[in-house]
Structures are given as structure tokens and as C-alpha cells.
């Protein structure tokens, strides 16, 4: 009995190793072939925030779980901040990772905004993740993420 168990374990490990190898290769190939393609939103984010690494948290991105019409998807961003002269949110950038052009909007706040909160409506081409990145006055960068299922896409057509 123990022999049998051993064999299945080895088999599974071999399978997993092989699978992960293929997955790694698959992930590498499109990157090499088309560097801008898959990571367009990451390029856009880099342009907006430079080399800063966003930390998950503080940013609440409000979006419907399922958007029936991708042409107009209501969204809200709220950032946890006291919004005083010494500690406030400077900007929030919103990216739609699956859109042909990932930039959605940049909201610029000041301490006179009172609340780091804004709402608008966006177009989503397909089911995807939406990311909001907040730049604080002290240089820290926070990030929030939401995935949205889109029934009818809202780009071009």
C-alpha cells in the first residue's frame, strides 16, 4: 500500500513540476514577443507613480461585481486619510487593466477637498480587474483592486 501511495505522490510532483515549467514558459513567451501588450496598465501606472511600489490597503474602490453594460460602469474611490495640511491624499489614479487604453482617470485632491473621495462612470471593454492607486502627501503609495464581470463590453464597436 505504501508503495502505491509513493508512486502517486511522485507522479503528482512530476506533473506539477512539468506544468509549472510550461506555465513559466508560457508566461515568458508573450512577454518576450510583445513587451507592451500584457503589461500596458503597468506601464501606465509607472508613468503615473514612478518607481514607487504600491502597498495594498487604505484605498477602497467601489464597483459593481457584475456590470451589464460596459459603456457606463459607476465607480467610486475612497481613501482613508485625515485630509489635513500635513497628511492628505494628493492623487488617485484609476486603471482598467483589460482595456485597450488602461488609463481611466486621475483625481487630484487637496486638503480643502475635506474627503479623499470621488465618483464617476467608466467604460470597461471586458471582464477585468480595475486598480486604484493613491499617492499620499508623504510619498507613500497605496493600492486597491476590484474585479468586474462585464456582460457587454464598452469599447469601440
Amino acid at each position: 500500500m505504501s508503495d502505491k501511495v509513493k508512486i502517486t505522490v511522485v507522479d503528482r510532483r512530476d506533473f506539477l513540476l512539468g506544468a509549472s515549467g510550461i506555465a513559466a514558459l508560457a508566461a515568458f513567451l508573450p512577454l518576450g514577443a510583445k513587451p507592451a501588450g500584457a503589461a500596458a496598465w503597468q506601464d501606465a501606472m509607472k508613468q503615473a507613480i514612478g518607481d514607487a511600489t504600491p502597498v495594498e490597503g487604505k484605498v477602497n474602490l467601489g464597483l459593481p461585481e457584475i456590470a451589464e453594460n460596459g459603456n457606463t460602469v459607476p465607480f467610486s474611490v475612497d481613501v482613508d486619510s485625515p485630509m489635513t495640511d500635513g497628511d492628505y491624499v494628493k492623487a488617485v489614479h484609476v486603471f482598467a487593466t483589460g482595456n485597450p487604453r488602461p488609463q481611466v482617470v486621475t483625481f487630484n485632491f487637496t486638503p480643502s477637498s475635506g474627503k479623499a473621495s470621488a465618483r464617476s462612470r467608466m467604460r470597461l471593454g471586458k471582464t477585468q480587474d480595475v486598480i486604484a492607486v493613491a499617492q499620499m502627501s508623504d510619498g507613500k503609495v497605496y493600492m486597491g483592486r476590484r474585479s468586474v464581470k462585464v456582460t457587454i463590453g464598452g469599447c469601440g464597436g
Binding site: R101, P102, S112, A118, S120
Partner: protein
């Protein structure tokens, strides 16, 4: 074509944070759509920026991209420290601008 609409309270308490809702009718043409008859791409034409000033000071602004829906709706907050005028400007990528003004009293 584009006419801005703004919903703001007429009166607020000193120090109160109030919500302002704005809407401007605009197609927000992405530049990705094709004219169905000619097959040619319809050139991009969007509202690219929105700026709100209260009592002469900038309080909020937004840079819009093509992924913002037609008839852009923007809602934001303003801290009312004293009475003043809320002045808002929308700018199209052609350079054309639209403005709206709302006065907020304190009491």
C-alpha cells in the same frame, strides 16, 4: 452641445464637507470607434480635464481619459470653511472650455 449641470448645496455649516455632483453632456469619442458607413475611424474628442476652485483656491481636479463614459459624471467633496463661489471648468482636448459657478453660503 455640452452644457454642464451642477448640484451643490446653497448653504453649509462652517467647516462642513459637502458633496458636489457634476454632469456635462459630451460624447467622449474614444478615437477607437469606426464610422459604420465610411469605415473610417472617428477622431478622438474628449473632455480631458475638470478643475474645481472654491473661493479662488483649487480644491479638486480630474484628468479624464477615453475610458470615462459619455456624458462624464464627476462627484467630489469640498470643505466649506467660509462663504464663496465654487467655480468649475471643463476642458475638451480641442482647447474648448465650459464653466459653471455655484455660490455657497455659510450659516
Amino acid at each position: 452641445m455640452a452644457k454642464p449641470r451642477v448640484k451643490a448645496p446653497k448653504k453649509a455649516k462652517a467647516g462642513e464637507v459637502v458633496q458636489i455632483k457634476t454632469l456635462i453632456s459630451h460624447k467622449m469619442e474614444t478615437g477607437l470607434r469606426k464610422d459604420k458607413k465610411t469605415g473610417k475611424k472617428i477622431p478622438k474628442k474628449i473632455i480631458e480635464s475638470f478643475v474645481a476652485k472654491y473661493a479662488g483656491k483649487e480644491v479638486f481636479s480630474a484628468n479624464l481619459a477615453t475610458a470615462i463614459s459619455a456624458n462624464p459624471y464627476i462627484a467630489f467633496y469640498v470643505k466649506v470653511d467660509g462663504p464663496g463661489d465654487l467655480e468649475m471648468t471643463w476642458k475638451e482636448d480641442t482647447g474648448k472650455t465650459w464653466t459653471a459657478k455655484k455660490s455657497i453660503a455659510v450659516g
